[in-house]
């Protein structure tokens, strides 16, 4: 089986023949977190292999292609716990792997990036959405596959404005990342012509997520919390910490839709997405993992597929060549979003359409029609080249 393959494979672009008996091995590290956060809705509770499962599917896909090119992909998984030395874990991985997919918080990612600065290893950020990683804290050895907060906020704002829901009430949680998301939403409102008519903060006073009398209490709290607001069209919640947003739909004092961290949510992927051939990857994913595919799974899949794509295009196991192609002008990747995804050369952020999903269906996909851009309409989402603070080093 292998003999006839090897004898007959021809890679047209390179005009070379694969003659080596052993396949070229491409090792991809995956540095993820052991802790699984608790979600408000049981339905959204992440699986232990959240993210890893997406990378594993991409390895299968890469290997199906790789068997025609005499290339074999291997995933090298490491989970770090709170308190672990993440820089050391990364350095150990980098000794074996030239590519590392990272699902880490922003500070840990920066630590890893700096520890690997002289290793020639490239990091693919599949988890952190912080804009600062692509702006003032950008690094030349980090490619960002996850979208940013500003991309997510802009995607939502374009739709709300298209829908003529321009008067927003913004409710923000009391944690740092909630405030960062609120900043992105305020910026988006200004950019696309929405007006925040009132802001409120929802203090996290602690408390359990699962209680036996939860609904009764929440049903009394949420209407009161949203009482006496000025005239508004939509309630936008910034609650990345998952403290309150999912309690808002159907419980607001006025009958208004909810968006942001609950209701209509901007995301890179949704289990309901089936357009542009997505049904095929959804089916493959469920077959392999016996569960539905999350945004983190998709981000990890895309990261591992990007390496596979660059490896087949360069027909090379040489990491430097592959990384050069990844960062070069000819790179693009297909990821079931109806358009090719490319990297912003000023900060190595992957351009991508953002889905707007309500937990049951994909309601829309941004950028919305009519939001134009001189380079790519995908650059109407997030911080654009003229505004960037990034200097790649």
């Amino acid at each position: 089986m292998l003999r006839w393959l090897i004898g007959t494979i021809a890679l047209s672009l390179m005009a070379t023949r694969a003659l080596a008996a052993d396949p070229v091995e491409i090792r991809i590290g995956y540095l993820g977190q052991a802790a699984v956060k608790s979600s408000l809705s049981l339905v959204d509770q992440p699986a232990e292999n959240n993210g890893f499962a997406g990378a594993r599917l991409a390895i299968e896909d890469n290997n199906t292609t790789g068997k025609f090119l005499n290339q074999r992909f291997v995933l090298d998984e490491v989970k770090v716990k709170d308190g672990d030395d993440v820089a050391k874990a990364a350095t150990d991985l980098a000794a074996r792997d030239s590519f590392i997919i990272a699902d880490l918080p922003a500070d840990a990612l920066l630590k890893v990036s700096d520890a690997l600065r002289d290793h020639g290893t490239v990091l693919l950020n599949a988890g952190a959405i912080d804009d600062r990683l692509r702006e003032q804290d950008c690094r030349a050895n980090v490619i960002h596959v996850a979208p940013t907060r500003t991309m997510l906020a802009d995607a939502l704002a374009q739709y709300l404005v298209w829908k003529q829901w321009k008067r927003w009430v913004l409710v923000t949680g009391s944690h740092d990342q909630d405030k960062l998301y609120a900043d992105a939403l305020r910026r988006a409102a200004t950019r696309f012509g929405a007006k925040i008519v009132q802001e409120k903060t929802f203090e996290d006073t602690g408390g359990a997520r699962r209680t036996d009398s939860g609904v009764t209490l929440i049903q009394r709290q949420m209407p009161v919390f949203t009482q006496q607001l000025p005239t508004y069209d939509v309630l936008v919640a910034a609650d990345e910490s998952e403290v309150f947003a999912d309690y808002l739909p159907y419980r607001t004092w006025d009958p208004r839709p909810v968006a942001g961290s609950a209701g209509l949510v901007p995301t890179s992927w949704d289990a309901a997405h089936d357009q542009w051939g997505a049904i095929q990857i959804q089916n493959r994913f469920v077959k392999l993992n016996q569960r539905r595919m999350t945004a983190l799974d998709m981000q990890a899949w895309t990261a591992a597929r990007m390496i596979g794509e660059a490896t087949s295009r360069t027909n090379s196991g040489d990491a430097r060549k592959v990384i050069g192609f990844l960062k070069g002008p000819d790179f693009s990747i297909a990821a079931f979003k109806g358009t090719r995804l490319t990297l912003r050369d000023w900060n190595l952020q992957l351009r991508q359409p953002i889905l707007l999903a309500d937990g049951r269906m994909v309601v829309s996909v941004s950028p919305q029609e009519g939001f134009l851009h001189q380079v790519s309409e995908l650059d109407t989402l997030g911080v654009d080249r003229p505004e960037t603070k990034c200097k790649l080093r």
Partner: protein
């Protein structure tokens, strides 16, 4: 009766005798779960046939007696009797069949099954599955060389055109093309294989002997962003001089000089144009417009759109009886 006459091989004679040549086109409507039947003398839909879930790939049997339509979500290919326009049978394809092709004799059918990375081989006389060929991720485009010796399958996530020897059913070559290859077509003289790449935005010209990409057709439409140009269906005239390429959400069909590979002009059609087929006299080319729910009729010699016909929901594939 009228239709029967046409299908028994009188088409050429009729075309010569009557100014308005009459053929029958079958259009699969992906969302509507129907097939629209179009009479090309009146350019009207004469019948709408209910079929299975998500009909896409559609083709006449070589003898013209049947139309076969892949209904992906029902994991089968349904067979429509063109005399009665009723479903009379179904074929044992693999899961989620999308596009398929037949050999010249109409004895063997090859089906791309998107869900399990295989091409299924079906004996059309026995209507039985007789083999599977492992290919890349998400097989889609299917075509067969004019001499019947080489089967081409494109795989959308592997980004390759696989060359399969039809005698041994083994892959003999793999040619890397641009992202998401969706459709493949040989020139009638076998000198070139064309492969459209939907996400890559190009059509690769492949030398079928050397298994090399020798050129690429690129598209540039003023005022339109590059990402919207997504080549899918390809149609080539028998003389090998002119080709038509559907550009998806660019809402245009490119007219290409098939010798120089240069784009001559762009024809504005409906929204998200998918696939196409010529009338047997090559006077007209019919293209399906997925989002605007219609079919555009192109006058091939004049290179102009002359007509739009409303069909079912999200039209996808089209086939017209050959004489």
């Amino acid at each position: 009766m009228w239709r029967q006459v046409l299908l028994t091989g009188m088409v050429a004679w009729l075309a010569a005798a009557a100014p308005a040549s009459a053929y029958v086109a079958y259009v699969s409507n992906e969302k509507g779960n129907t097939v629209s039947v179009i009479d090309t003398s009146s350019w009207t839909v004469t019948k709408t046939i209910k079929v299975g879930q998500r009909p896409r790939g559609i083709e006449f049997s070589r003898d013209g007696k049947f139309v076969m339509v892949a209904v992906g979500d029902d994991d089968t290919i349904q067979v429509i009797d063109t005399k009665t326009n009723e479903i009379v049978d179904s074929l044992p394809s693999g899961p989620d069949p999308e596009l398929f092709t037949q050999d010249a004799a109409g004895k063997t059918m090859y089906v791309a099954n998107e869900n399990d990375n295989t091409v299924t081989v079906i004996d059309l006389e026995k209507r039985a599955r007789i083999g599977d060929i492992q290919v890349g991720v998400e097989p889609e485009g299917m075509t067969i060389s004019p001499d019947g010796k080489i089967l081409i399958n494109t795989s959308e996530t592997t980004n390759m055109a696989h060359f399969i020897d039809t005698a041994t059913r083994q892959i003999v070559a793999n040619v890397l093309v641009d992202s998401r290859p969706r459709f493949a077509q040989f020139k009638h003289d076998s000198s070139e294989l064309w492969v459209s790449s939907e996400i890559g935005g190009t059509v690769s010209i492949v030398d079928p002997v050397k298994h090399e990409v020798t050129g690429k057709i690129t598209f540039d439409i003023p005022g339109l962003r590059k990402e919207a140009i997504q080549p899918v269906g390809i149609g080539m005239t028998k003389d090998g001089k002119t080709a038509f390429i559907a550009l998806g959400p660019a809402n245009r069909v490119a007219v290409v000089d098939a010798v120089s590979h240069k784009v001559i002009k762009y024809l504005l059609v409906g929204q998200r144009v998918w696939h196409m087929d010529f009338t047997p006299d090559e006077k007209y080319l019919l293209v399906t417009n997925g989002v605007s729910n219609d079919v555009s009729v192109i006058d091939v010699a004049a290179q102009k759109v002359i007509k739009t016909i409303q069909v079912g929901e999200l039209p996808w594939g089209i086939t017209i009886a050959q004489p």
